[in-house]
């Protein structure tokens, strides 16, 4: 038979990593809050930070297929590390960010050796257990973390010596957004790399991987470490932009919420976590008046709907309908 009529293999593969106009529109839209919602910039930076956290979970969940119920452990490690560095005198944000990210990455590396050895229910329980242990550790060590009172005395110096973190939130949002964008570029490159392809292979068919000569566990360790570092970076951003760290940042609640956001937006699609975070956080802000259990009622309805009707989240549903529409 003849060669594919439309495009050569190399050109096809290169085209997979090309920027889609919708992507460019998305990133341009992230600049809108500066102009349209100047009173909501602190919410905007919260959303940005959570989006970054969701992106980090997507690497292991959406691409490598690891269900983690304890990912907030790394978020919290990043937050507390950044907070503590500043509390002990070094308030420079960029270096603090790098140190906190590295700390979370190192812990993630160590934990990855455990994670990569287990699957299914055992793995879910281990991630849950480790997450709960991290929470308990932070809770008990109030001499270090402030316990349930939270970390006090965090004071961050201006970014690059010029941009102070103020109440208006311009610096906070610009800083978080810049961090998100840079990390996103790195994640995008990772997903489109041979390593990203290997992760998708692991997700698609675990059994086939050793049969093609792949060391799945090594790949999982690498992905987990990277995801832990990214989560730590997000946590550090939170600590720096809000100049505080609370137990909430390392709680099961945070682990569960980010999972819901990612699933809502659509895991394994790079933008799913970002979209999910925006929708979830905006909705939560709008409905902040209602009691928590009723908020979770609607989350419950949403989860049941997504699982039964929209298995690939909002982005999955949209792309499915778009594909069907194009075929007509």
């Amino acid at each position: 038979m003849t060669s594919p009529t439309t495009i050569t293999p190399q050109a096809y593969m290169r085209a997979q990593s090309r920027w889609h106009p919708l992507e460019i529109a998305f990133w341009l839209a992230t600049l809108l809050p500066f102009v349209l919602f100047p009173n909501y910039l602190s919410l905007a930076s919260q959303i940005t930070i959570t989006a970054l956290f969701a992106l980090s979970l997507d690497i292991i969940l959406g691409y490598a297929g690891i269900v983690s119920l304890g990912h907030a452990a790394f978020f919290g490690i990043g937050a507390y590390t950044a907070g503590l560095i500043s509390k002990f005198g070094w308030g420079e944000p960029l270096t603090g960010l790098i140190i906190a990210t590295t700390a979370a990455g190192l812990v993630g590396f160590a934990v990855s050796f455990i994670i990569s050895r287990f699957r299914h229910f055992t793995l879910i329980m281990i991630t849950l257990g480790l997450g709960l242990l991290a929470f308990e550790a932070a809770n008990r060590a109030h001499w270090l973390t402030g316990g349930s009172d939270g970390l006090q005395g965090v004071s961050i110096w201006p970014v690059l010596g010029i941009f102070k973190f103020d109440l208006y939130g311009y610096t906070a949002y610009a800083y978080s957004l810049a961090a998100l964008f840079v990390v996103f570029l790195a994640a995008r490159l990772l997903i489109n790399s041979p390593f990203g392809l290997a992760l998708r292979g692991i997700r698609e068919n675990w059994v086939r991987m050793p049969a093609i000569g792949a060391h799945s566990r090594a790949h999982i360790r690498k992905a987990f470490t990277i995801a832990a570092a990214m989560a730590g970076l997000a946590g550090a951003l939170l600590a720096q932009t809000t100049e505080s760290v609370s137990l909430e940042s390392i709680s099961f609640q945070r682990s569960a919420d980010v999972l819901v956001m990612l699933v809502l937006g659509g895991a394994g699609r790079l933008y799913g976590g970002l979209v999910g975070a925006v929708i979830f956080m905006v909705a939560r802000d709008q409905f902040s008046g209602i009691a928590p259990q009723y908020w979770y009622f609607w989350i419950g309805i949403l989860l049941v709907t997504v699982v039964m009707v929209l298995p690939n989240g909002i982005l999955g549903g949209l792309s499915h309908f778009y594909a069907r529409w194009r075929r007509k």
Binding site: M1, T2, S3, P4, T5, T6, I7, P9, Q10, Y12, M13, R14, A15, Q16, S17, L189, L190, N192, S193, P194, F195, G196, L197, A198, R200, G201, R203, E204, N205, V207, R208, M209, P210, A211, I212, G213, A214, H215, S216, A218, H219, K222, I226
Partner: protein, 261 residues
């Protein structure tokens, strides 16, 4: 075989050999003291009634199952202690009886992944796949030879079953194996498409050593130079196709049963 070729083959170690390979699940033995010798370039068929342990043998050879006793030798090297991915890297590949493919990837991506793994590129996360032109071209070449070139951008789960079986073989070939174990390559493929699968098998290089499990005796007699008959986990007999066809014991144990099963 000419006498010269025979002695030549006798000097080289077997491409794949097992010695005393045994495995039992609890009190149920599934492999009993199996000794197989595959010379380089061989075309061996492994036949036997259902439940004889043929796929189990392949799982033992490839490392998906750990034997209770015995050894596996690849080109003379003992690989019994190696994990499955290490055996693949040494040149031992297999296909699965039931399609075990990457459903959400397309054929080009899947084969490129295999090649990336083989070339040690799969750990690189800082360059886009599109930059690895050689690997992509090699992947496409393998697909083209198996007549999958024109559907290589289609996602695997949408491919017709026969094409998926060919992709099974493509994935294994992309590891550049020296020994290829095919587990019922045309299983489940409708009559019209099974010809393509066998053409692909026939077209495989003479350097490649093949062991295939097959139920269809026409296929066996057409492709195999040597047949091994496995019954209840042990080798019942082996020999040339003519010898096996004439063996009344085989007919009773296998060919006779085939009429019922």
């Amino acid at each position: 075989m000419t006498p010269a070729a025979k002695s030549d083959a006798a000097e080289r170690p077997a491409a794949l050999a097992t010695r005393g390979l045994s495995k039992a699940f609890g009190s149920l033995p599934v492999a009993r003291d199996i000794a197989i010798n595959l010379p380089v370039g061989a075309r061996y068929a492994l036949i036997g009634p259902n439940g004889a342990g043929k796929t189990t043998l392949i799982n033992l050879m490839t490392g998906m199952l750990t034997p209770d006793g015995g050894q596996i030798l690849l080109a003379g090297d003992d690989i019994t202690a190696l994990g499955p991915e290490q055996r693949v890297r040494r040149g031992l590949a297999r296909t699965f009886q039931i399609n075990t493919l990457f459903a959400g990837l397309n054929a080009l991506e899947a084969v490129t992944l295999v090649i990336a793994e083989r070339r040690g590129l799969a750990g690189q996360f800082w360059r886009s796949v599109g930059a690895y032109g050689e690997a992509i071209d090699e992947a496409y070449e393998i697909l083209r030879k198996l007549k999958l070139g024109d559907s290589c951008y289609q996602v695997t789960r949408e491919l017709p079953y026969g094409r998926q079986r060919l992709l099974e073989i493509a994935l294994a070939l992309a590891t550049k194996p020296k020994v290829l174990l095919l587990d019922e390559p045309a299983a489940g493929v409708p009559q019209e498409e099974s010809g393509e699968v066998f053409e692909a098998v026939a077209g495989l290089s003479g350097d490649l050593t093949l062991l295939f499990i097959e139920h269809d005796m026409h296929v066996v007699f057409r492709f195999a130079s040597h047949i091994v008959v496995l019954v209840s986990g042990a080798i019942f007999t082996e020999g040339s196709p003519a010898k096996i066809a004439a063996d009344p014991g085989v007919r009773e144990v296998y060919l006779g049963k085939r009429k019922h099963g």
